[in-house]
């Protein structure tokens, strides 16, 4: 069940970060939009965590080292451009991943099919803001570029295969990438036959193209720095997190932990 935990933690942690915007957004419409995205993600997290165990026990009683979320989603909000850069990177990833899961016949297919509609909206919201900030004023351009740069190093970990969603050992998925352009039908059959199998290399190249297209349309430059930090890519999935995360959990868990066994 580590896949449900990984995907559930991504949604839970990013939802929490977006919840911090409430009452602080640059315009009322964004109060509504950011809360809306946060709520969608929280809903996804609750479904995914419930597949693993008790949602509240998992959210409130695990310590930092037991969380499996990407380091990207735990990064502090920063300014609006920083938040939007994080959202672009993650929403495009989540959208492409859920599309693939929904198309398969694995255990997440039903869940992903439902969530993919929400995530398509999140992705559109992020892309539209990248365009506006990138191609807005000189200041917004600069801020958007630095948001993209600052978070770039956390993007490599998204494509570390998640156990249970790995295509390794299944046939057909590798063929799907290889055969694109030759016979679409052969590729499609191959993918649907592979259950939850995700071709992570193919996912990564689809992500790079999508993000590049948006960034270029926004008159911005795709960052060129390394896509991993000092930790190996995929560290978040192993419970190795960045320093701001512990502080975030302390706030999130404090009340629940102060009343052991209470129900709310």
């Amino acid at each position: 069940m580590s896949a449900a935990l990984a995907l559930g933690d991504d949604a839970l942690v990013l939802s929490h970060r977006l919840g911090e915007w409430a009452g602080h957004a640059p315009v009322l419409e964004e109060e509504v939009a950011l809360a809306n995205i946060a709520l969608d993600l929280l809903g996804q997290a609750r479904v995914l965590l419930s597949l693993v165990g008790d949602e509240d026990e998992l959210a409130y009683l695990r310590e930092e080292r037991a969380f499996r979320n990407l380091q990207l989603v735990e990064q502090p909000n920063g300014d609006f451009a920083h938040t939007i850069a994080r959202q672009l990177y993650f929403s495009v990833y989540q959208h492409l991943l859920y599309e693939r899961l929904a198309a398969g016949d694995g255990e997440f297919a039903g869940l992903a099919a439902k969530a993919v509609k929400e995530v398509a909206y999140h992705r559109d919201h992020a892309e539209q803001w990248v365009l506006r900030l990138g191609d807005g004023t000189a200041e917004s351009h600069e801020r958007m570029q630095s948001g993209l740069e600052a978070l770039w190093r956390f993007t490599g970990e998204m494509f570390q295969p998640i156990e249970g969603l790995d295509a390794a050992g299944t046939t057909g998925t590798a063929g799907a990438t290889g055969t694109t352009g030759t016979t679409d039908t052969a590729g499609a059959t191959g993918t649907s036959g592979s259950g939850s199998g995700v071709d992570w290399a193919e996912l990564e190249s689809a992500w790079i193209s999508a993000v590049t297209a948006t960034v270029e349309r926004a008159t911005l430059t795709l960052p060129t720095g390394p896509r991993t930090g000092a930790w190996a890519a995929g560290a978040g999935r192993q419970g190795l997190h960045t320093e701001p995360f512990g502080r975030m959990l302390a706030e999130m868990q404090h009340l629940h932990r102060s009343h052991p066994g209470a129900s709310w």
Binding site: G19, E31, A262
Partner: protein
């Protein structure tokens, strides 16, 4: 947590205040007296017949000004009211409660949007109203100047503050100004939902551990009196009410609504297993209503003057969000100019003028 409250209605300078930004209209001074009198008679007749006044209808300038002020305060209350509850989003003790709270705060932003739009039909703009809020020239409900110190406060706000707001707002669904009345129908539905959720939150605490019960009682003790103050000063000190009632903006007096609210809350508190912090509450057989203790109007006046526990903090956060967001709004505007064809660009302002004239 929305609250159009009567509490600031008496704070306006006078009923003859001119609405800012409403230059157009037959009241510009050049119209002959007879024409004015005919318009006023038609307006009075429409109000008397319980017809709705609509944006293009003629209305007395004082009616317009009163509505702009009240609707702006109402909208501002929704926006400022997000803060005390948002204070607990990141600490909500279960994922279910967290989702409910996020949805509620989101609804409040939505209510603010409806109300600013409704106010704009009177010839003002959201930007103008927000500037006035930030400059301290327009108010918001005094209740939001109290802090949320524990999780139970989120429940007390839902039960008492939203409950008081609903008691105040349901009659506004029949307000004489159409756009306001229609906004209130939508808002009241959502508010009732929030109120039930707040009650249910308190019930869970009250029936929970000893510490949870104590937390719930403490929250009710702190929010009870400020909630009663939401109905505004006593009738004999509420000079503005009479005109608002004549215009059918307001349908009931402050004291009448306050008594109604107490009557609703007493049995609810019993069902919750919590007490109301007023030893003088008792049933009055003769009046068929509850008697209750005296409100500390000195505290009320202090909060209105800006000396409440959170006045400074609330307005500072609002201003900061607005100022720190300026570059984002500028970017969106610059992008729109770059990516809009010249014909659409000129069409928009023209339409706006027509709508507000």
């Amino acid at each position: 947590m929305a609250a159009v409250t009567a509490d600031q209605k008496t704070q306006s300078t006078s009923g003859t205040a001119k609405a800012a930004g409403t230059g157009a209209g037959p009241a510009a001074g050049t119209a002959p007296d007879a024409a004015d009198a005919a318009l006023l008679a038609a307006f009075d007749a429409a109000v008397a017949a319980d017809d709705r006044i609509e944006p293009r209808d003629w209305m007395p300038e004082a009616y317009r000004a009163t509505l702009i002020r009240q609707m702006a305060q109402h909208a501002h209350s929704e926006i400022i009211g997000m803060q005390p509850e948002a204070n607990w989003i990141t600490r909500a003790p279960s994922l279910r409660r967290k989702a409910i709270l996020m949805a509620k705060v989101q609804d409040e932003a939505g209510h603010g949007l409806y109300l600013y739009s409704a106010a704009e039909t009177l010839g003002t703009s959201r930007e103008e109203l927000l500037d006035k809020l930030h400059a301290g020239r327009q108010r918001y409900s005094s209740i939001f100047n109290y802090p949320t110190l524990t999780w139970a406060d989120v429940g007390a706000i839902g039960w008492l503050v939203d409950g008081a707001a609903i008691t105040n707002q349901v009659p506004l669904c029949r307000c004489s100004y159409g756009p306001y009345a229609r906004a209130m129908v939508r808002i009241c539905k959502e508010e009732s939902f929030h109120q039930r959720q707040g009650y249910e939150l308190l019930l869970a605490l009250s029936r929970g551990t000893e510490a949870q019960h104590a937390m719930a009682q403490d929250a009710v003790d702190r929010w009870w009196w400020p909630s009663l103050m939401m109905f505004g000063p006593p009738d004999d000190a509420s000079s503005h009410s009479e005109q608002s009632m004549a215009w059918k903006i307001k349908r009931h007096s402050n004291d009448e609504l306050r008594r109604r609210f107490v009557d609703i809350c007493v049995p609810q508190a019993e069902a919750l297993g919590l007490t109301l912090p007023d030893p003088d509450i008792r049933w009055n057989e003769e009046r068929g209503q509850h008697d209750f203790g005296a409100i500390d109007w000195t505290e009320f006046q202090q909060v209105l003057k800006g000396n409440g526990p959170c006045n400074e903090q609330r307005i500072t956060q609002r201003r900061r969000a607005h100022e720190e967001g300026a570059w984002v709004r500028d970017a969106a505007a610059a992008y729109a100019v770059k990516h809009t064809t010249p014909s659409t660009r000129t069409a928009q302002p023209a339409q706006h003028v027509e709508e507000t004239a």
